[in-house]
């Protein structure tokens, strides 16, 4: 059962931040609410105030320019990203990820910013965005600051946001040339979150890998970069043996849990397999991309 709360509807982001400051320790911000309402119903959170930013149209944007890259506003829904021709062209990995996120109804109302703020290590956006070097811009009455997403999650379901901050923008740098990101989660049902998820970005320089990111979901209390796996790829001439080694490295450096869905050993096994596959897929795409 959801506990009673006072409902606040700011008319602008500025007003929202003011409300957030005023009630900082006893409020929650709602936009799509696809995660928030579930945990409120379970009694895990009982805010006294709920600040609704759903109708802030100024925050509903999805823009790109060649210099600064992608900017996603706070109230931009998953579905907008999924259907954007610009995203399909510039950040195909984002479109592919959104297509497989939950279900259409959730994507229609929920936001990528809200998903990132919730901080579920099984969530799909964070691994992909981290693999692409993404960041979040946090706003408060004090001002704004940008945090790279791979520094955003200190612990399970925790972010580095202060209580008076919210995510005002998600940023992704322009995709470098000869670079591609691939993401896959392992699930039994297509609409599920993954037992584990792996996102890999490979950037080529000639026939060598210039840069790589290997990001794991559901493999630790937070989404993590498998830095050893990255080091296997960076500087190497990529082939199946290297991908295999990268997979083994990723499997060794993560700390997956055991639960009813999978043992720790099986999760590591899946990390190994998916890292190998995603590294290869990213490489194959990077080779042919501009």
């Amino acid at each position: 059962m959801i506990s009673d709360f006072t409902y606040l509807k700011p008319g602008s982001m500025k007003e929202a931040l003011q409300m957030l400051k005023e009630h900082e320790d006893e409020c929650k911000v709602i936009c799509g609410g696809q995660s928030l309402l579930v945990i409120m119903r379970q009694g895990l959170v009982s805010p006294e105030y709920v600040i609704d930013i759903k109708r802030l149209e100024d925050a509903n944007y999805l823009t790109y320019d060649a210099k600064d890259g992608l900017k996603i506003g706070a109230t931009c829904t998953h579905r907008t990203i999924e259907h954007s021709a610009m995203i399909k062209e510039k950040y195909p990995a984002l479109e592919a990820m959104e297509e497989k996120l939950a279900s259409i109804q959730v994507r229609n109302w929920g936001t990528i910013a809200g998903n990132l703020a919730h901080g579920d290590p099984a969530g799909d956006p964070a691994p992909v965005l981290i693999a692409m070097g993404g960041s979040v811009k946090l706003g408060s009455t004090k001002g704004e600051r940008v945090i790279p997403l791979d520094e955003f999650y200190p612990d399970l379901f925790e972010t580095v946001m202060d209580h008076d901050e919210l995510i005002v923008e998600v940023q992704v740098p322009p995709r470098p040339a000869k670079s591609a990101t691939k993401y896959q989660k392992f699930n039994l049902l297509e609409s599920d979150m993954g037992l584990i998820g792996v996102a890999v970005t490979v950037t080529m320089d000639g026939d060598k890998c210039k840069d790589a990111r290997v990001v794991l979901g559901s493999a630790a209390p937070t989404v993590i970069r498998a830095k050893e796996a990255e080091q296997v790829l960076i500087g190497a001439t990529l082939d199946d043996t290297v991908f295999e080694k990268a997979g083994e490295a990723a499997a060794a450096e993560c700390e997956p849990v055991a639960d009813i869905h999978a043992s720790e050993e099986y999760r590591r096994h899946l990390i190994k397999v998916l890292t190998k596959r995603m590294a290869k897929a990213a490489w194959e795409q990077a080779k042919i991309s501009g």
Binding site: M1, L189, S263
Partner: protein, 770 residues
């Protein structure tokens, strides 16, 4: 998408097996159908149930004074507010009536109701639960049947030695001789998981007790008659003073014909307050506190000749009965019976033991013990065929039942189309040609009952009854006790009535789901209604038709050798169909002839001398094409074909829907619907962690309908839809066996199990090389 073909169809009927819309369709697709979930009565209160957190504990005391003080709370009830009657659906056997619903002395599973609250809102009722203090004395608990039968295990019910509540023995033929004759014997142990019914409408009820001492209950259930009888028993009321209504039911699948907390607690509360009380289970409650498919441990030993002739089989099964018996006693028998299906054995023996444990009670679920039986039997048979180098389809075929087969002391097979099923599946497999390297096909055969002959409910009524009343405008009121839970029985009964009377389905108004206005019927379980309720409807319709035709004969002046009939609302001489009169005109004449009394036909059916199980059996063979990712173990279903014999199909759309729907549930049992318990606690009581097939996972479900004629069924019909839940798990297992040579002993098969099995196989092969 799907392909649906009929092999050797019978002469076409006017209504039967034609494309008839579901008679409840308009209400359901316009959002107008009112389910118990939607019922709102004036002055209605909302109830919530407090549940035991312990798997086994004595209830020393319950203090609910604080709860009563909460504003809006109207009453709190516990076992002490009841008569303490131990009830059970096996009414005839008192020792199997072991469940109080609101227990007085102790709780036996996590989630068992201990108290119930009625309040002005659901939220207040929920808050009140936290204010009820229960003083438990925690007792040692036991969770697995093989532990519960050990000496020294905690005794869950007084007087049940080794926690064995029910035993069943089935035997026919010469078992020992059969084994002596065998040239190859194989024995295997299997473990079959439970499964949740997962009806879209959770358990719910609205009870209203009024000052005239009558109780009205709206309940989402499969048998209003059973609810009425059981409630009369626990409340010490007359059945006639209880009215049970099941308006529309959001799914049942075998889980909704026993009493549950919603119906019982809402009634007790209402009787205290003289106000309507509604209880709706949350999805979590539905998972943890409504009975599940029976998990089983199976040992099966099978002896055959080297040429594949089946000789003997003996099986021993321990089922995890959970805390109470419920319908589990029937599942115990049926699993043993269908473990022999669909084959002829020189000797067959089965011993089943239902064991109490401190877990959620297990009960009937679509398939009723047969999915478990086939998981074991059909896989072992496949392995035997492989061990002997025989074709698995032909080996099955030569041992299968035929029309006329007798299972001594158990059943006579009056219709059987399985031989043609083998033809169709063989054709389908051949048609597939060479499969991609990561795919394989598995098959499984089975058969199933069309309703049971047993009267463990000890009902004095016919198993099914129907009343047909003809109105002056030719519309027909059809009153049945058969309960539509989504399977389309309202439509099936309307079709049979319309065909028999010679009118159209739109002329029939079906009345069901109301014990005040409908005749008793055992309800929707064991796939009984098409045959049993259908027979009652046919009889009632024939009786009404006969009365009508009497007037037509009288005025027609026909020679005695000529017959009249009614087709498409046209009463005519069969020899000269162009001569006749309109149905409505005849009805009006008959009405006058009967002093203004409507024509009423009554029908009923109870199986007599039909063996130990069922009057008729459906048969099927299913093939499933499975893709497996060898590295991750992930299973994807790509295609399926089911060759199916249900006698004469009655409800065409309903039949296809049943076969496709059964497949999704059966496949879920095979590879998805894992229900893990830890120390008696269900670990995934929600739809995020309990996995079920959704649209992207469902493969094509092609159907080849083998048309046979079952003499006991209305127009030759037998069951469809429950039997189809039996083969799929085994077919998936057999697909894995064919591709990898791994033998999966436990279902559901999860990807990790596949990966482990492959690893073990590889290690074994490497060890053998050395």
């Amino acid at each position: 998408m799907n392909k649906y073909t009929v092999i050797n169809p019978h002469e076409p009927f006017r209504v039967i097996n034609t494309h008839v819309h579901n008679v409840d369709g308009w209400a359901k697709i316009t959002g107008r159908a009112t389910y118990t979930f939607d019922v709102k009565l004036p002055g209605m209160l909302y109830g919530k149930i407090l549940r035991s957190p312990h798997p086994h504990a004595k209830i020393r005391g319950i203090d609910f004074t604080k709860a009563l003080q909460l504003d809006g709370v109207k009453a709190v009830v516990t076992g002490k507010d009841t008569l303490g009657v131990k009830q059970g659906i096996w009414r005839r056997y008192k020792d199997l009536c072991d469940e109080q619903i609101l227990p007085v002395e102790k709780v036996r599973y996590i989630g068992e109701p201990v108290a119930a609250v009625a309040a002005t809102t659901e939220e207040i009722a929920e808050k009140a639960l936290d204010l009820i203090e229960v003083d438990y004395e925690v007792l040692p608990a036991v969770f697995e049947p093989l532990d519960a039968i050990k000496k020294g295990a905690p005794e869950i019910h007084d007087g049940f030695e080794r926690n064995i509540s029910v035993t069943r023995h089935i035997e026919w033929g010469e078992v020992e001789e059969g084994f002596e004759e065998s040239e190859y014997i194989r024995e295997d142990w299997f473990r079959c998981g439970g499964q949740a019914h997962m009806c879209m409408e959770t358990r719910c009820a609205v009870s209203s007790y009024t000052p005239d001492k009558k109780l009205t209950i709206y309940s989402s259930n499969q048998s209003p008659y059973y609810m009425q009888g059981l409630m009369a028993g626990v409340l010490n009321m007359r059945e006639g003073d209880i009215r049970v209504l099941s308006p529309y039911v959001g799914g049942g699948f075998g889980g909704k014909f026993e009493l549950d907390g919603a119906i019982f607690c809402s009634a007790i509360l209402s009787m205290k307050l003289y106000k309507p009380v509604k209880i709706v289970y949350t999805r979590e409650e539905d998972f943890i506190a409504t009975k599940r498919r029976t998990p089983m441990f199976y040992y099966t030993r099978t002896g055959v000749k080297k040429d594949g002739t089946f000789c003997a089989r003996e099986a021993k099964v321990f089922t995890n009965g959970g805390a109470y018996t419920g319908m589990g006693a029937t599942a115990l028998y049926l699993t043993g019976f269908f473990h022999s299906f669909p084959y002829i054995w020189k000797g067959y023996r089965y011993d089943g033991y239902r064991v109490y444990t401190n877990t959620l009670p297990s009960t009937s679920m679509r398939g009723f013990g047969a999915p478990q039986a086939m998981w074991c039997s059909e896989q072992q048979i496949e392995w035997i065929a492989a061990d002997l180098g025989l074709d698995p389809i032909e080996m099955r075929r030569k041992n299968s039942h035929k029309e006329g087969t007798i299972l001594p002391g158990q059943a006579t097979i009056a219709s059987c189309g399985i031989d043609q099923c083998y033809d169709e599946i063989t054709k389908w497999i051949k048609g597939k040609g060479k499969l991609p390297a990561n795919r394989s096909i598995g098959i499984s055969a089975c058969g199933f009952m069309s309703g049971g002959i047993f009267n463990w409910f000890d009902s004095p009524y016919s198993f099914s009854s129907a009343v047909v009343t003809i109105n002056q405008d030719g519309t027909v009121e059809l009153h049945v006790g058969a309960q539509d839970i989504g399977q389309g029985s309202n439509t099936t009964m309307a079709i049979i009535c319309a065909e028999t009377l010679g009118v159209k389905v739109e002329d029939i108004k079906v009345h069901s789901g109301d014990t005040d206005n409908c005749p008793p019927d055992l309800g929707a379980w064991g796939s009984r209604q098409t045959l049993m309720s259908g027979n009652a409807v046919k009889m009632a319709s024939e009786q009404a038709k006969k009365q009508l035709l009497e007037f037509a004969y009288a005025q027609s002046g026909l020679n005695i050798v000529y017959d009249l009939d009614i087709k498409d609302r046209w009463v005519h001489a069969i020899a000269r169909p162009e001569r006749g009169e309109d149905f409505v005109a005849l009805v009006r004449k008959a009405l006058r002839g009967k002093d203004g009394q409507k024509i009423v036909g009554r029908g009923y059916y109870t199986p007599h001398r039909k063996g130990m199980i069922s009057p008729a059996y459906s048969y099927m063979l299913q093939g499933v094409e499975v893709e497996v990712d060898e590295e991750t173990g992930k299973i994807t279903l790509m295609d399926s074909m089911t060759a199916h014999d249900c006698g004469q199909p009655i409800n065409h759309l309903g039949l296809i829907g049943q076969l496709e729907g059964a497949f999704s549930m059966a496949a879920g049992y095979g590879y998805l619907e894992y229900m893990p318990y830890e120390d008696g606690k269900l670990m995934n009581p929600n739809l995020v962690d309990y996995k079920m097939i959704r649209a992207p996972e469902m493969p094509p479900a092609n159907i080849a309908e083998i048309d046979t004629y079952e003499p006991e069924g209305p127009y030759g019909a037998k069951e469809a839809g429950e039997g189809l839940t039996n083969p799929t798990a085994a077919a998936i297992g057999n697909a894995l066996f064919h591709r990898f040579g791994i033998q999966m002993k436990e279902c559901p098969v999860r990807p990790e199990m596949v990966v482990n099995a492959l690893r073990e196989k590889k290690a074994k092969e490497q060890a053998e090389k050395k």
